[in-house]
Amino acid sequence: MNGMQMVVFGALAVAGMGTPAQSTAAEPTIEELLDATDDVNRGESSKSTVTMQVKTKRYERTMTMNAWSRGEQDSLIRIVAPAKDAGTTTLKVGDDMWNYIPKIDRTMKIPPGMMSGAWMGSHFSNDDLVKSNRLADEFTYEKESFVDGVYTIVCTAKPDAAVVWGKVVVKVREDKIPLEVAYYDEDGELARKMTFSDVRDFSGRKVPATMVLEPADRPGEFTRITTTALDFDVSFDDRTFSLQALKE
């Protein structure tokens, strides 16, 4: 699920490879729209600052994080606030993930069995950060409607696809800015919904700065991620995404 990657890792070239000029040139294909909704961060490098607000029945907390990413393979996310969790860092390299916890100065690899667990207490799972399935690859898709410049695309999981969702409904603007992604389980029940808003300009690209994920089975709960700073085409050396870098 790469909407997550888009925002957290900052590589939010949601307007596609395109500049605004390109996006108005021709009518986009559905595949292009899905790709834009997915992640357009491949081959891109970025550095971003986001705040993540998690509201659950039991607690509400806000964290500020710095994120670095290189393509969709590598990323590093470091919590900078609140002080209690500051320095806690997640490293993702390919399909592997590690967490570094400063208060005990230890690194832990997340085992495969725990990848569906919550990431940093949010409504996102570890898998959400790591998985790089593409909607256009794992789903059959068709345009349901095109109203007021917004495409509604229904994606149905291919029988052999290794995805947890049965159906995904994507709403995306004709300029390839996503508005909403609704995830349905295999029984067709709405499982969670992600909405994008607050389109802003970062380094010359239009990006929805706010993303809200709401689990359908827990009304009132949500995780909101707001991008406050985003730079593209940052260069990194190999050390940036290494276990050594986790602790710095």
């Binding site: 998690v54 659950t56 039991r58 607690y59 509400e60 907390r61 609140p82 209690k84 969790d85 806690t88 590690w98 967490n99 916890i101 208060k103 005990i104 230890r106 690194t107 832990m108 690899k109 997340i110 085992p111 069995g113 725990m114 667990g117 919550a118 940093m120 207490g121 276990l243």
Partner: protein
């Protein structure tokens, strides 16, 4: 007359010996089988009751359904004190549970965290017996790992392991602990995923303050007094929390133990038949053969009631000899079964979540002997009633004429 009865049973030595050995053999088989079954059920009871539900368990009403870290007991500290004062409670402990990532930077796995009060826990569960290597928790910062979990993450005694988890306030809880022991609890889930640490360590890790998930009690006098204790706990706790006996908390285990008791009852029934028909047959034959002799006795003034007593006594002697012989043989097998144990050679076996060791040991209870021997003797005397009654109804004149 005692001497007469005793001599009578040895007049047909072979027949009496066959009857006696049938009874003795039956008893010698039944006793160890009951001991074996009690061993099996003791293992299961240990896993299900002492390590988990206790005789009576108190928890947040939603906890059994949600297993949520947040569904803790309110006012557990006061409740613990008042429950300890209950006359029917022999031991009380409290526990908290959590889940987290446990391991090192090389290998880690999801673990079930069991927070126990090390001293109280030892009064409820057989903590020394479940520690396969190392020691039970003695100081803060220690952790015990299920032996399979330890193998999974390459941890051994003295290793340092890290736990990372989601704390109750939403922050990231983390701690490092030293492996003090490896646990073979017999509960396959716990042996594969369980980690035991002191209650205060777990509360600190999860930011639970002084909250716990359950209070667990053992009944004074064991299983028979569970219902009384459950009622007393309910009266003490009221509606504030869910109070359940182990039968309510783990109906499957209760069902299994009931099944075991039924099996023991079937074994006893077999003993009944062995003893009953053996004595009945022997005594009928014996009375029939002695028709003339009994006729003479009665003609000489022996009263019918005395004849009844004589025959009953003969049946009783047969059963006593059979019982003593059976108890000696059964006792020897019991001794072997309860000390050396029966090695099945299949390795560890898992049955409904409980791991049984390859060598199963029996558990001896004097009840096993008394129920087998007692029922055998009672049924033997009862079986001799009909032959005795027949003998007493003999008409001396007709009887003396018979050949």
């Amino acid at each position: 007359m005692v001497g007469l009865a005793w001599r009578n049973i040895w007049r047909q030595t072979r027949r009496s010996l066959i009857t006696i050995s049938a009874m003795a053999f039956g008893a010698a088989v039944c006793m160890p089988m009951m001991a074996f079954m009690d061993g099996v059920y003791a293992t299961m009871f240990d896993v299900a009751v002492t390590q988990q539900t206790g005789h009576v368990r108190v928890e947040h009403p939603d906890y059994p359904k949600t297993n949520s870290m947040f569904d803790t007991l309110d006012g557990a500290g006061d409740a613990l004190k008042s429950l300890e004062a209950l006359p029917g409670a022999s031991a009380v402990t409290w526990r908290a549970y959590g889940a987290g990532l446990l391991g090192s930077d090389q290998k880690s796995t999801g673990a079930v965290l069991v927070g126990v009060d090390p001293i109280r826990e030892s009064t409820v569960a057989n903590t020394d017996a479940i520690v396969k290597q190392g020691t039970w928790l003695t100081e803060p910062g220690q952790i015990l790992l299920g032996h399979r979990l330890a193998t999974d993450i390459d941890a051994e005694l003295g290793s340092e392991v890290v736990i990372m988890t989601q704390a109750a306030d939403g922050s990231i809880g983390a701690g490092t602990y030293t492996v003090a022991g490896l646990v073979r609890s017999g509960n396959i889930m716990r042996d594969t995923q369980g980690a035991w640490l002191s209650l205060t360590d777990l509360q600190e890790l999860l930011y639970l303050d002084d909250r716990v998930h359950e209070l667990v009690l053992l009944a004074d006098g064991g299983r028979d007094n569970v219902d009384a204790l459950a009622a007393a706990v309910k009266a003490e706790i009221g509606d504030k929390a869910l109070v359940r006996s182990w039968v309510e908390a783990n109906p499957q285990m209760a069902e299994m133990l009931k099944l075991g008791q039924q099996q023991s009852a079937i074994l006893l029934l077999i003993i009944f038949f062995l003893a009953g028909f053996g004595v009945l047959n022997t005594m009928l034959m014996s009375v029939f053969e002695r028709t003339k002799e009994l006729g003479v006795m009665m003609a000489l003034g022996t009263r019918p009631s005395a004849v009844v007593r004589l025959i009953l006594m003969e049946g009783f002697f047969l059963s006593v000899i059979g019982a003593i012989a059976g108890a000696i043989m059964g006792g020897m097998i019991d001794y072997w079964l309860c000390t050396t144990g029966l090695t099945l050679g299949y390795g560890e076996m898992e049955f409904s979540g409980v791991v049984f060791p390859d060598t199963m040991k029996g558990v001896f209870h004097i009840d096993q002997v008394t129920s087998v021997i007692g029922s055998m003797m009672v049924i033997s005397v009862l079986a001799a009633l009909w032959p005795a009654w027949r003998a007493s109804r003999l008409q001396p004149v007709d009887a003396m004429r018979s050949t």
